[in-house]
Symmetry: D2
Subunit: 432 residues, 4 copies
């Protein structure tokens, strides 16, 4: 079996082009079109638009105004109106590659790769020490930047498709590649859960993280937190604080109690948990009883059960605080993902394949690391694992110029080609 | 018209005898029997036992064990079992005096006097500087003492009945005298509201207060707070604070939030309000998530409306705190009374009668004073005023040895006779 | 004695011109210049600029940037640079009128009138039902409008000076007129306290309020609250809420506790009190432990003592909350005024003079009303009263188109002339 | 080498005798005397009384009244007054056994065993299903019972001494046995830290826990929490809640805020933490502003650093709450212990010895388990480890009739003899 990989320069060019056109979560119109252009004519099963997702479970989906703004930018940067309309407001796509020997395309692919495609709300550094600025491929969109490496992920995904097309008939079964919007804020994955049905192996790669040097590889991860991101709104009644304070229904006090008591939710004997109220805004004027309040919150848990438990307690507290101060209230879930530990059995397989790829120095290949924060890939991993499948999260070693989400973040593009190689070989091996 | 008053020595003797047999609220069995003995054979309409009150609205009513203890003491001090049984667990009585010219006893009396009969939870001073101790009429019941002057009130009430009997046929209409249990804790009055129906004048006297010198008189009072006394109980679930803290439903935190937020209830633009959580007890052991809590609370308001408003807000807070920490909860109202200002028109009448009684020095007769705290007489006054009647609260001047509820409290008995005289003349005048 | 009053049309013209050039508190550069122009050449003692005030006690004084913006607008609207510079960043002025018989100008005037000159942060209605819009004298400054009637006050003040000049030699002693900046937010008066020294009578008039119909007059007011307006800032330390929550010093929790416990400050047995936290803003991002918080607060008291007491308790709570969450904190007092009841003796004098002015209908002249909210005139009244002087706050009857601070607020200009007349006669009478 | 063990019946008899005379922490006078009697005449180095401990670091030490009560009971149960006096109010003892070849007794022993000697505040079951009751060796002291198995520990300790005496000359160096008071509430160990100096091996055994079946053994433990037990007292000022609420300094509100905010202390990114307020008591009467409050608290941490961190935050919160409500306050530390994981190297040695003792079934010997709660043995382990020594905590398998601290707790005495054997062999091996 001989896999034909795309040229390294091509991978780099894709990545830089994507970097330049960074778009925020759920608004990756230019990006989605770019992917489509690169893979057209390859005889693939592509799912797009409203068919691509479970629209009823969209989390943290932006307003139509916001989407329209980004559609206009995509148009201004060369995407045709027809192509924009074709996406039906939904970004991302699913690509299935099948060997022709599998007749019935109703059968499900064996393996699923997920590549996230959104950028971060960061204003990119404008300084010649920052390579994208020096070489002229900085983000053209103010306050939106690929400071997490997803531009690289997309390039790897496109490369992987091209590599797999070259060995299509040698594949034992179908391979699925998801280009997922809105990983930031752990929003997007939940709408793609249906694509996990019947999948045996789920593999997600991320540049950097704890593999922040060239030639390193981490084959699996445990310890990502399950998390729920949510906003709380209280609506009370205002009144003049001097004249008729008793007529007010004080939203500021409801929110203040809520903040303190959410933090006071008990620890969990089963493992780590977290809660944070990151923002509280309430009230309008010094002498007015506040009639509205907003809180931006998140819970986390070492397991999905722990996260669920703390989120349930949080709901009781919010409802109780509303009752205390006669408030109407609303809890908006704007992001959510499960916890998922990589499976030892799959880690072993990845480890073995990685050792045959010269880029990865054998002594720098680690089987397992503890994750930091949350990644909604876990929602897909969890879904696959629930059905008896195996999943793993891979950290792809690359020298980082600065930490993830930093305005100086940049990675060493030499990881792109070996990453494609690793994934292509895994696809071949795991389908045969 | 010539009123025949009881001898002053008789009034003093009654008062001392009552002082010696001080009984707590709702347990005034000996006291009720004593009143009955003094007024027997006078051809009065007397209502006793379960007929006397509205049992459904009893507040802060004690346990049967408590009542039985005091019934045994009454028996030990000479009350027959038959008489105790006759009371049907209900202390106090209502006496109506009618001139024979009023045929139809269905008609309601014109005027109502209220005398409270319970003692206070105070351990009486044992010191020769304390006259009851020196003269040997100290309370025989430990931790229960007439430290508020209600013993004097009862003596005045008995004296008033005897005086009115002497002018029964000169009365223009019936006169009602209520001997009410359990004024302390503002518990008793509410069960006697039905006796206010149709009453034109309600008069309540209290020894001392702001008339704490001999020869003084205050003809009316404004500024008693309406108040509600209540207990709150939270029941949650315990768990080991180290091993399974997430399984606990923390009653201590529910109660703590409750205490703070009850205090944070907004001021009222319509007038003064108060709230106090006087006692909080929660939890059992250092390493156990607390599964029970108790709070002892009270609200007050310059008007009944304000008190109702703050109590409603309190209920929301309690319910909300229960919701927050998944508690079962109970609010027990153990006392309640309205606010009531004395009516200027009635004050004028009292003022005029008082000026004709030599004991009261004219320059020491005040028309109006601000009250302090609460008296459940206001509940009866409020009820009469709602129907268009007039009401007033009178402070009867007497040198006090110490403040009300002090273990050294004592009053100068020279007030007893002029108080009877004032009330008897008012009864005559207001019924004619 | 014959007082020569300005023509009514002149008063109205001044008022409309001032209305058009509404300026915010402490930035009344155009306004101050306008007053100066109207009264120039009248041989008055005028105090201006830094001499005019006690700069060390300035409250809620804006930034230099803010002042510069408004100085530029004043210049653009015709005020010379020389005149702007002359004010030394300080708006308002003090005018003393002396009869020539008083040689030694070190002697203090007998009577003080205060006229407030600032506008409100309101965006004026643009609708032909709003007279200033219809007649073309709407505020030219967006979001700043004379919606409280201070434009009328200034016109009355200028008219009063002209009237008094016409009887200068008949005055028994000096008369002081203060044009005070920044009454809104109760900021300005405190810096003018030194002008109260030795004053026997302080008179402050306000158009409308509870005299919101033509021909009405209220000669005195009780019940303005003493008040303190203040901001609180907490500075803590941020950290990643998932990774290192223990390193954060949570400003949001400090502020939330602060808000609840400020509201929980106990009622005061001596009279009404208020507290309000009108605005709370804390935190920056959902997954970041908040390191900053801001609260906008006010206390009020029926007396200055009560207000001081509640503000002292507030300071303890703020300091305690800072300690709890290891915060640096700052309390910025941005406004403050005393409570002051009008003096009965002065009210009688005003009442008598008012009855001789035909505009005020005798049956519509009230001696006393309860005020609403706070006015920093009370700080000057309080200062005069402390020295044994008398003070009164007068409500000048005028049909109001809408409530104070409403974008449709307007008053009936027919009050201007009789107001000048009332004040001029009082000045004559009280100095003789 | 032939170790002569005490007869099993003797071990059982000791245990039952100790069970019958259960004494609470720091009051183990009878118990200490019993141990002394069993080991007298064996030529041991025994340290007693005030020399035995570091009195300055005693935590949760009871009142003299409490000690006197238990000294009287000890006397009543046969301990001579001279022996009681000899203990100088200090219970427990330290026994060093030296082979004669070690001349200089200044040298420190190689190995330290700790046996805890106190009973629990539990009222022992009186039911024939409970063996101690059936066989007549129930605790004679109401509400104090050996419901944790420390009676067995003491018997093992005495047996160990006798066994070691039989091989004294074969020992390579000294062996130290600490009979420690007051393990319950993690109070006693800290006062014995000085005995860890220079120790190479610390071994602590506990009957049951996660080895709650016969023939089981757990050779080491990780995951005991470091913990601090403390009480908080607030002293404020009372006042009448209706009349002068502003004069109160509300201890109940200080304590309530304290409780909530202690629970709201942030999680720790380094590992598990816990906090609990188990008891809150505040206030005296419904209508009195509360002037005192008491809280019973504990913190825990997966490491001593985490526990220290949470306890420091707790201190800030307590101080802040005191400041908020103008309270005097006091924090009394009544118990404290470190976290300590058993050392792998020592676990291996224990594992090897245990496999040669037939009682322990090889398949039931576990190397490591996670502990539950806290044991102040960790303070001694931590101290030894700090100096480079090794430590392990052993769970001795025994069928339990009910959980630890249950009123039906009882263990199978067949563990006593093999436990002595295990410890004696370890002492021999580790000193040679």
């Amino acid at each position: 079996m001989k896999i034909i990989y795309p040229n390294e320069q091509e991978l780099i060019q894709w990545r830089r082009c994507l970097h330049k056109h960074a778009e925020p979560g759920f608004a990756e119109f230019w990006t989605t079109n770019f992917i489509l252009e690169q893979i057209q004519g390859l005889n693939l099963n592509i799912t797009l638009g409203k068919n691509a997702i479970d629209t009823s479970s969209l989390l943290g989906y932006p307003s139509q105004d916001f989407l329209d703004t980004w559609k206009k930018k995509a148009y201004a940067n060369g995407v045709s109106l027809a192509n924009i309309d074709m996406l039906e407001n939904i970004t991302g796509l699913i690509v299935d590659i099948w060997p022709s020997k599998i007749d019935n395309k109703q059968k499900v692919p064996t393996i699923l790769f997920r590549f996230d495609i959104d950028a971060v709300q960061v204003n990119e550094a404008e300084n010649i020490s920052h390579k994208p600025f020096l070489l002229g491929f900085s983000s053209i969109n103010k306050d939106v930047c690929h400071s997490c490496g997803h531009d690289g992920h997309i390039a790897i995904g496109i490369g992987l498709i091209k590599a797999l097309v070259s060995i299509r008939e040698q594949l034992g079964n179908g391979v699925r590649i998801i280009f997922q919007p809105a990983e930031e804020g752990v929003r997007g994955a939940v709408a793609f859960k249906k694509y996990c049905k019947g999948i045996k192996y789920a593999i997600i790669g991320h540049i950097g993280m704890k593999a922040h040097n060239n030639y390193e590889l981490v084959c699996g991860v445990k310890g990502f937190f399950a998390t729920t991101k949510f906003d709380v709104i209280f609506i009370g009644a205002s009144s003049h604080a001097g004249g008729e304070p008793e007529k007010g229904k004080n939203s500021l006090l409801a929110a203040s109690n809520c903040a303190i008591n959410l933090h006071a939710i008990s620890r969990d004997g089963r493992g780590e948990s977290r809660i944070n109220i990151g923002v509280l805004k309430a009230g309008t004027g010094r002498n007015v009883v506040p009639d509205q309040a907003y809180l931006s919150c998140e819970t986390r848990g070492a397991t999905s059960d722990i996260n669920e438990c703390i989120f349930e307690k949080a709901q009781n507290i919010i409802e109780g605080c509303a009752k205390m101060y006669e408030q109407e209230y609303k809890i908006n879930i704007v992001g959510k993902c499960d916890s998922a530990a990589s499976d030892t059995e799959l880690i072993e397989k990845i480890y073995n394949v990685a050792q045959s790829i010269p880029y990865f120095h054998n002594e720098k290949i680690k089987k397992m690391e503890i994750g930091y924060g949350s990644d909604d890939a876990c929602t897909l991993m969890h879904e696959v694992q629930k059905q008896g499948g195996l999943a793993s999260y891979i950290m792809l070693g690359s020298n980082l110029a600065a930490g993830h989400h930093d305005s100086y973040f940049d990675f060493d593009e030499s990881i792109l080609k070996p990453a494609v190689e690793l994934f292509a070989r895994l696809a071949y091996q795991l389908t045969n």
